[in-house]
């Protein structure tokens, strides 16, 4: 019998960005490699890795459109391909989980590529790009020099782009969350919205709207609670909202704004790129905090000091009052929830649910992913099963799948997953019951659907 000596989880092997059109002549292959992690690797390995990717893409082109190349699986790796802009490819190479086993007294390595969910990590890869674009704008925009024009200009632009990619990705990749624990949430790029009672919800919305109406320079206004949950998503599309959310997590909190509310980082507000009105353009991001509320304002032009003062004077008091009321509302709700369901959240065998609105990408769930002990309440195989079942959210979703689905599966460890999908909403209920029958499970799921997901709370969109 074989005994597992050691298990190594998914790790990042490499990540690179390339564009084949950047190396026209033999001997200039290194030019097509715009970014490669880890940087210490010998240059010709980088070129060879990119070469293999290009070879795979070309090979695919024999049978279908090259642009459709998605993944390469080897015994030891999973490589995901993404072409966000014509000609620019991003490749994420993961080392699959590996188990060292003792078989007949010999150490044998077993590679478990089947455990890696492509969908999840493709979404991680997409986000790698989205975050870059959020902060630096599209890559193509950097390479404006015509091929026909002077080579030197193009070369300079290429180097500059490469440098920018280094500045961004060297840091971004370090902050990669533990890859092994990526799950369906990472795949869906959905964000939790804060559930609010109608009046407060409308107040918050009106506040945001008024900011935009009153101050000409403000293009959009987003409000978050505790930097985690969205209160108002503004006009941002789901993808930009997700990037903004991730970006905000990384911004240092700064000094406690105290009772008054304050701007974070007035001197040099960061520039970000948003896809508003079908056009990707840069905006300055102003972050304002009041108690538990974070406000993100997007302005066209770099603001003068007077602008900040005006805004602060206008927003401060209103926002503080709103923030207090929201905080009250939230604590009331939390108490009510705890009261109702008792030890609901702690136990891993109590029912869990997940609700996703495919259009707005908002989600609502009682599955804790980033708990204090980083304990997942649901076993890994079940989370993976949900990822398998989920309808991936791709941009330009052409509908070939029917609008309504219902599905129940039982895993080998007695977990049941019930899924319903209709009207661009996906609902999942996860139950752990060893003796349940199909009908039992159907009933229980129905009860939870009705209880949790038809609240009279309001969600944005």
């Amino acid at each position: 019998m074989s005994q597992v000596l050691q298990r190594v989880e998914i790790t990042l092997r490499s990540f690179y960005v390339f564009n084949s059109s950047l190396s026209q002549k033999e001997g200039e292959e290194r030019k097509k490699v715009l970014y490669y992690y880890p940087t210490e690797v010998v240059e010709y390995t980088k070129i060879n890795d990119v070469g293999l990717s290009e070879g795979i893409i070309k090979f695919i082109g024999t049978f279908t459109n090259e642009d459709d190349c998605k993944a390469l699986h080897t015994q030891k790796t999973t490589q995901l391909f993404y072409q966000p802009e014509p000609g620019f490819w991003l490749v994420l190479v993961l080392n699959v989980p590996k188990e060292l086993k003792l078989k007949d007294r010999i150490e044998v390595a077993e590679y478990r590529g089947g455990e890696v969910s492509d969908r999840i990590y493709r979404a991680v890869l997409r986000q790698c790009y989205q975050m870059y674009r959020f902060q630096h704008g599209p890559m193509q925009a950097r390479l404006t020099a015509n091929l026909a024009e002077e080579n030197q200009q193009r070369e300079q632009q290429r180097e500059k782009l490469s440098l920018e990619l280094h500045q961004f990705y060297d840091k971004y990749l370090l902050s990669f969350r533990d890859l092994a624990s990526c799950d369906i949430m990472d795949m869906l790029h959905s964000i939790q919205y804060l559930a609010l009672e109608k009046r407060i919800f409308l107040r918050a919305h009106n506040f945001c709207k008024l900011c935009g109406d009153t101050f000409a320079g403000i293009r959009d206004c987003i409000m978050l609670y505790n930097q985690e949950q969205i209160i108002c998503g503004g006009k941002l599309n789901a993808s930009d909202l997700y990037s903004l959310h991730a970006y905000i997590q990384a911004v240092p909190k700064g000094a406690d704004p105290g009772e008054d509310g304050a701007f974070v980082e007035k001197v040099t507000p960061p520039r970000v790129f948003l896809d508003l009105d079908n056009c990707i353009a840069p905006f300055y991001l102003l972050i304002y905090r009041a108690l538990n509320i974070t406000l993100c304002l997007f302005v066209d032009v770099a603001p003068q000091p007077e602008f900040y003062e005006e805004l602060h004077a206008y927003m401060g008091p209103q926002l503080i009052s709103l923030a207090r009321d929201i905080a009250d509302e939230v604590s009331k709700r939390t108490a009510a929830n705890l009261g109702e369901s008792g030890s609901n959240d702690a136990s891993s065998t109590s029912p869990k649910y997940l609700f996703i609105n495919e259009q707005s990408l908002k989600h609502h769930t009682n599955i804790f992913r980033h708990g204090k002990n980083n304990q997942k309440s649901i076993p890994r195989n079940v989370m993976s099963i949900i990822a398998d079942l989920a309808n991936p959210i791709e941009e330009n979703c052409t509908q070939t799948t029917p609008a309504t689905e219902e599905l129940q599966v039982k895993a080998t460890n007695d977990f049941w997953v019930v899924k319903r999908r209709c009207n661009w909403r996906q609902y999942y209920v996860i139950l752990c019951k060893s003796k349940a029958t199909l009908l039992d499970v159907t009933q229980e799921a129905k009860r939870i659907f009705e209880q949790e997901l038809t609240d009279d709370v309001f969600f944005d969109k």
């Binding site: 060879n48 293999l52 070879g55 795979i56 070309k58 090979f59 695919i60 024999t62 049978f63 279908t64 459109n65 459709d68 190349c69 998605k70 993944a71 390469l72 699986h73 080897t74 015994q75 030891k76 790796t77 478990r112 590529g113 089947g114 455990e115 492509d118 195989n381 993976s384 099963i385 398998d388 029917p402 309504t404 689905e405 219902e406 599905l407 129940q408 599966v409 039982k410 895993a411 080998t412 199909l438 009908l439 159907t442």
Partner: protein, 522 residues
């Protein structure tokens, strides 16, 4: 609701009981291949009369010039005919050898299978002349070699709408490309089948030695005349534009059992047992009819692996010439022992009874002995009226009892039932709506999806119940069996559960008619 309906005789193309549709259907351009394989077998039969056998000739490498030439022309006729686009581009000239890239028919095929040597030399392509695809084979070899250089191996490539499975075994590289719903694991099973088929013809050791000595060896020479065997294994799904139930046994790595009353099967088994037990070196006796197993009788302590048995079924299914006269040929059963040959006496019982008997021995000189064993078995079966019973069952378009059972559960459209303890499968005839090609494709996709998810190595499932647009589908694994079933979409859960219950009970009651619990020994 017991309406007695006499089943209307089905035309050949879609009835699940007739798996050799491609051999039956004539005059249809899609079935060209079938006609030409018929021809090929007629030649094979001729060769046999001369005391040679195509397969053993190819294997033993004896150079008989005349035979070689005719073997080669055989190979030519079979291989060019299998390529669907030859009929399209008859103007294909030496100039446009790499034109497959611009041949939209070739490019758009639902499934491709490529086999090449480690040197990158083409051996086989399901569609297209493998010579003309030589450049593509070169690319594949290099991609595989690059990954190997890093002590790794390519498993699969995924692109929108198409996936590729790779396999590298013993000097051969095999690639499957598929636009169907088959998973990578299922495609690898297909490649594995083909690989084992090749081993069955050559043995593992012969294959290794050949390439060890001559890396540039053109394996097509050794496989000449056997393409139909490979083709039949690969043509088991709808990507080949035919409705064939071989896909079900393939997906579950099982075989079907010929339904017979217990008493009849008992008699058959004892007829075989009594005539085989004292025969030295005779290890297995296999009796097959209509692509189903009537009986497998074996020497104690020896058994046949399901994959090997499927290869035997494949051989029988593809070789019409066995019907005309007995054959004696070498066969390797790779899962049993991949380096050695058995010898099999293969013949049909009588002119009236199309049941095929294989007597498998380790003694290559035992042909005459096997012939007399066969005669004695046949005699006994005739006397005990077993042949008659077999013929009676064969005359029914589908098994009557099973058919009745299905009628009593009208919303149950189709199912696959496989006991855990055996590699045998039971399924009913294909009914409306699954008789047209496009609907059959859908059914196939459903089973591929269910089987893949149930047997997923990292996260297997015990039960799947899914309400889809056009049907309700169920997959259920218990300690004793696996059941996959498809119902009309309007059916409710309670009915599904009721039907499943009823079906399982019925199967358990009729178990020995449709399954063989333990293979008898002698």
């Amino acid at each position: 609701m017991e309406t007695e309906q006499t089943p209307t005789p089905n035309t050949a193309t879609s009835d699940t009981n007739s798996t050799c549709e491609y051999l039956d259907a004539e005059g249809d351009s899609e079935h060209e291949t079938g006609d030409l394989y018929q021809e090929a077998d007629a030649d094979a039969e001729q060769q046999h009369h001369q005391g040679h056998n195509i397969i053993s000739e190819a294997v033993s490498g004896q150079t008989n010039k005349d035979l070689t030439t005719s073997v080669e022309s055989l190979a030519l006729s079979t291989s060019t005919s299998a390529k669907t686009e030859d009929s399209v581009s008859t103007n294909a000239v030496e100039e446009d050898l790499d034109d497959y890239q611009h041949d939209s028919v070739w490019r758009g095929q639902k499934k491709h299978i490529f086999i090449l040597s480690e040197a990158g030399k083409p051996i086989y392509s399901l569609h297209g002349n493998e010579d003309k695809l030589a450049a593509l084979f070169g690319v594949i070899q290099v991609l595989v070699s690059i990954v190997q250089r890093d002590q790794d191996g390519i498993i699969s490539i995924h692109a929108g709408g198409i996936k590729f499975a790779f396999m590298h075994r013993n000097s051969l590289i095999l690639v499957a490309a598929s636009r169907t719903n088959m998973s990578i694991q299922q495609l690898q099973l297909q490649l594995s089948d083909v690989y084992y088929q090749i081993l069955s013809l050559l043995t593992h050791s012969h294959l290794s030695k050949t390439f060890e000595r001559r890396k540039n060896f053109d394996l097509r020479r050794s496989l000449a005349g056997s393409e139909r065997l490979i083709f039949n294994l690969l043509a088991n799904d709808s990507s080949n534009a035919r409705v064939s139930s071989n896909i079900f046994t393939f997906l579950t790595n099982s075989i079907r059992v010929f339904p017979l009353p217990t008493a009849v099967r008992s008699n058959i088994i004892s007829a075989i047992q009594s005539n085989c037990s004292k025969v030295k070196d005779l290890v297995f006796a296999v009796l097959i009819a209509d692509n189903k197993l009537i009986a497998l009788v074996r020497m104690k302590k020896y058994s046949i692996h399901p994959s090997d048995l499927r290869l035997i079924f494949n051989l029988i299914e593809c070789t019409e010439s066995f019907k005309n006269s007995p054959h004696w040929l070498p066969i390797c059963l790779p899962k049993f022992n991949m380096n050695g040959f058995w010898h099999a006496h293969i013949s049909y019982l009588t002119n009236d009874c199309p049941a095929c008997l294989l007597l498998i021995s380790v003694d290559k000189n035992a042909s005459d002995i096997m012939q007399s064993v066969k005669m004695r078995i046949t005699e006994k079966l005739e006397r005990s009226q077993c042949l008659q019973a077999i013929n009676e069952e064969l005359q029914e378009p589908h098994n009557a009892k099973l058919y009745q059972q299905m009628l009593s559960m009208p919303e149950l459209r189709h199912f696959l039932y496989k006991p855990k303890a055996t590699a045998q499968l039971l399924f009913p005839m294909l009914r409306h709506p699954y008789k047209t090609l496009s609907e059959f494709e859908r059914l196939e996709a459903i089973y591929c999806s269910l089987l893949h998810r149930i047997h997923n190595q990292s996260r297997p499932l015990k039960l799947i119940y899914e309400l889809r647009d056009r049907e309700v589908i169920l997959a259920w694994v218990t300690a004793t069996y696996e059941l996959y079933a498809v119902f009309e979409s309007i059916v409710d859960k309670a009915t599904v559960i009721k039907y499943v219950d009823k079906l399982i009970k019925w199967i358990e009651k009729e178990y020995d008619v449709y399954f063989i619990r333990n293979h008898a020994t002698f």
